[in-house]
């Protein structure tokens, strides 16, 4: 029944393929093995498309022509045409790819291989594997500096942020952070690096120049057990004014003043909020809520949750097509 539904909606999408690709929101559903596509204008679900086994990390090329999905249990990255959701080709990813980050130029792709303690570097044009970088145990979070010179990988059991030189593929620094680091996010000007720690319950603010931790942001929510506050996804506005942090089973997104790195507000979203993505104009922030199977939409200016949209089973990652 589901497949039939996907096929029908797929047809509908094909017909309207040329209109308003921009702002389409793509959500990976880890359990139902598909991607839900949401219209970024109307917030309506456009369709649901099977993509392979255990899809988690998802990203899109800077020109919006290729959608990349880590299909962890297929041990590869599948590349889709975001207009039609047809599979274009696959990329060798190494085993159990979880999260990845694209170089700002669109090439190469840096992939965290969770089971094998390596980061795989793949050329998105030639589809060749360029390097494998040994990192700590359970690599997960991947971030890239705005100039593309440094890729950050966080390893969940080793508890480090590894700085990887994108020219030499060598690790140039390791920063020890709190338990189970999940995500790494640079500010747009490259002056700060945020690393979330799920079990540690903190966000480390790192000076990329010195690789020193300058501050640790911690969270306190009345009525929520401290153990439930588990920072995972994080996104910072391009003007560097606001940082949003998904707090997992606390079912909140924290709003942080990114100038002072002080928490301003907590927004109630769906259950087990995992990853975040801005719309291209940064008016909206989309959150994946793994346990309530929905996406919350936050008004970035107003710090308000305006909508929730039902998606597939256990939504994990989210990306929005560029303008």
């Amino acid at each position: 029944m589901k497949h039939l539904l996907s096929a029908t909606t797929g047809l509908a999408l094909l017909i309207s393929a040329d209109t308003a690709l921009a702002n389409r929101v793509f959500v990976t559903n880890e359990r139902s093995n598909d991607v839900t596509v949401i219209d970024g204008e109307t917030f309506e679900v456009i369709g649901t498309y099977p993509v392979g086994n255990r899809p988690r990390g998802i990203t899109i090329s800077p020109d919006g022509s290729e959608l990349y999905v880590c299909v962890s249990d297929d041990n590869l990255v599948r590349v889709f045409d975001p207009n039609t959701m047809e599979e274009l080709h696959t990329l060798p990813s190494g085993p159990d790819p979880e999260l990845f980050v694209l170089h700002p130029s669109g090439n190469p792709l840096f992939i965290a291989n969770e089971d094998d303690n390596i980061v795989t570097v793949v050329d998105t044009e030639t589809h060749q594997m360029l390097a494998e970088v040994p990192v700590g145990v359970e690599p997960e979070g991947m971030g890239v500096s705005p100039d593309g010179a440094v890729v950050i990988n966080t390893s969940e059991t080793t508890n480090m942020a590894h700085f990887i030189d994108t020219e030499t593929y060598e690790i140039t620094a390791n920063v020890l952070v709190d338990s189970r680091p999940r995500f790494a996010q640079y500010t747009a000007d490259g002056s700060k690096l945020y690393v979330t720690s799920e079990i540690g319950g903190t966000v480390s603010v790192i000076d990329p120049a010195t690789q020193q931790i300058t501050k640790k942001i911690s969270f306190e929510i009345p009525g929520v057990l401290p153990e439930a506050i588990q920072p995972v996804g994080a996104r910072v506005t391009s003007d560097g004014s606001k940082l949003f942090v998904a707090l997992g089973p606390a079912n909140r997104v924290a709003v942080v003043d990114a100038e002072t790195d002080e928490v301003i507000d907590y927004l109630l979203v769906g259950q087990r909020v995992w990853q975040l993505a801005f719309s291209p104009d940064e008016k909206w922030l989309y959150t994946t809520n793994g346990n309530s199977n929905d996406v919350s939409i936050i008004d970035v200016e107003a710090n308000e949750v305006v909508r929730s949209v039902q998606v597939g089973q256990q939504p994990w990652g989210v990306v929005v097509a560029p303008d």
Partner: protein, 399 residues
């Protein structure tokens, strides 16, 4: 250490070396795993037969994990594996101490664990990865011992919180006749008191020996279990305390009244289970299974966690000095992640590792305790097991 990765590399792929690899020799951090095998009867189910590498496989994974991190820290980890019998345990321990081993993970029953702890004295830190005895955390506590395995009280409390949430407070408690069964029954009585359940009927299933695994064993069992459980006072659930593995596995579906079974069979409280997938558990299971070629057991998880405690202390203190590590593990600053969704810490009053308890059936994790409604002023995990005000532990010396 890089062998696995090298093997994967194609000719055109460059191997990136970690630049932080130390130029001088890495600091070696040694530990031992001493497993004391009880030559008792085989388990009721052949699925429960202990694998040769029980516990040791968990140690190997922990050393791999520690070494991967150690590569960036200039630290190298090692675990010596020793299998002994109750008769040879003391001699094997003496050898380890003579060898200067300062961290010893012990997989043994309550009595042997206590004897070994006394033998070790202040020469080493002992990490208990099997014994569940509440006495070891109470009147027989030893300062040199960290209890990585949960206590019987924690297991009983974890199950009881769930049964109270389920509104099944009337229990028919059936325990075996071995000392460990009686100890588990006592833990259930305490848990019932603590959380307001009532034991409406209690019976002992005496171990009289017998050919339980013969061809016709199940025929006997099918007749015996209903008879044994008939005419009990009205109850919501049958709680079994059968650590000796004599009868509980046969209980589900053979009780006189149609009631669910929990405890040693049915819904079982555990430290870990191979079906656990939450909180990154999937990748931990994957790593273990590709290393050991079998599913994980609680002894493996507990041994893994014991050695990860040492590894985590070495990472955080950036030291290989055993004295520095021991001090840090016992300090309030210490915590370690164990795929249970929150930081695991050490209780200062009895050196028990605080941890959630999984409630599992054969194939899934049904729930994880503590249950949300049981709150605590310091840590919700302290609703499981013996809390500070109730402890009977008085450490002899606080060196």
């Amino acid at each position: 250490m890089l062998k696995g990765i090298m093997g994967l590399l194609a000719g055109t792929v460059a191997l990136a070396q970690p630049a932080a690899a130390q130029t001088q020799d890495p600091v070696l951090i040694r530990a031992a795993v001493l497993r004391v095998d009880d030559p008792g009867l085989p388990p009721i189910s052949r699925l429960d037969l202990p694998p040769e590498d029980l516990g040791f496989a968990g140690a190997r994974l922990a050393i791999e994990d520690n070494d991967t991190t150690g590569r960036f820290m200039g630290q190298d980890f090692e675990a010596t594996e020793v299998a002994a019998s109750p008769d040879t345990a003391a001699a094997e321990m003496a050898k380890l101490l003579e060898d200067g081993m300062e961290f010893i993970v012990v997989l043994a029953d309550d009595a042997v664990t206590l004897e070994l702890a006394d033998q070790v004295g202040d020469q080493a830190m002992l990490l208990n990865a099997r014994a569940r005895g509440d006495n070891l955390r109470g009147k027989d506590c030893r300062f040199n011992t960290i209890h990585v395995a949960p206590s019987r009280a924690m297991l009983a409390d974890g199950l009881t919180q769930f049964l109270m949430w389920k509104n099944w407070p009337r229990w028919f408690l059936i325990h075996g006749s071995h000392p460990e069964d009686l100890a588990m029954a006592e833990a259930y009585r305490n848990a019932a008191n603590k959380f307001g359940a009532r034991i409406v009927e209690e019976r002992e299933y005496e171990d009289t020996g017998g050919a339980r695994r013969t061809d016709s064993g199940h025929v006997q069992v099918q007749a015996q279990m209903p008879v044994f459980t008939q005419r009990a006072a009205d109850h919501d659930i049958v709680i079994t305390a059968d650590e000796a593995d004599v009868f509980a596995a046969y209980m589900p579906y053979l009780t006189w009244d149609p009631r669910p079974v929990a405890g040693s069979a049915g819904l079982v409280p555990r430290s870990w289970h191979p079906a656990m997938e939450a909180w990154g558990g999937t990748q931990f299971q994957n790593r273990f299974e590709s290393l050991a070629d079998r599913q994980i057991r609680e002894d493996d998880y507990q041994t893994w966690l014991a050695l990860r405690i040492i590894g985590e202390a070495a990472t955080r203190t950036q030291s290989g000095d055993p004295e520095v590590l021991k001090k840090f593990i016992l300090s309030p600053e210490f915590d370690v992640a164990g795929f249970k969704g929150q930081a695991l810490t050490v209780r200062d009053w009895d050196h028990q590792v605080r941890q959630p308890i999984l409630l599992t059936t054969g194939v899934v994790t049904t729930s994880v305790s503590p249950q949300d409604q049981y709150l605590h002023q310091t840590s919700q995990l302290d609703t499981l097991g013996v809390d500070r005000p109730e402890t009977q532990c008085q450490f002899q010396e606080a060196s």
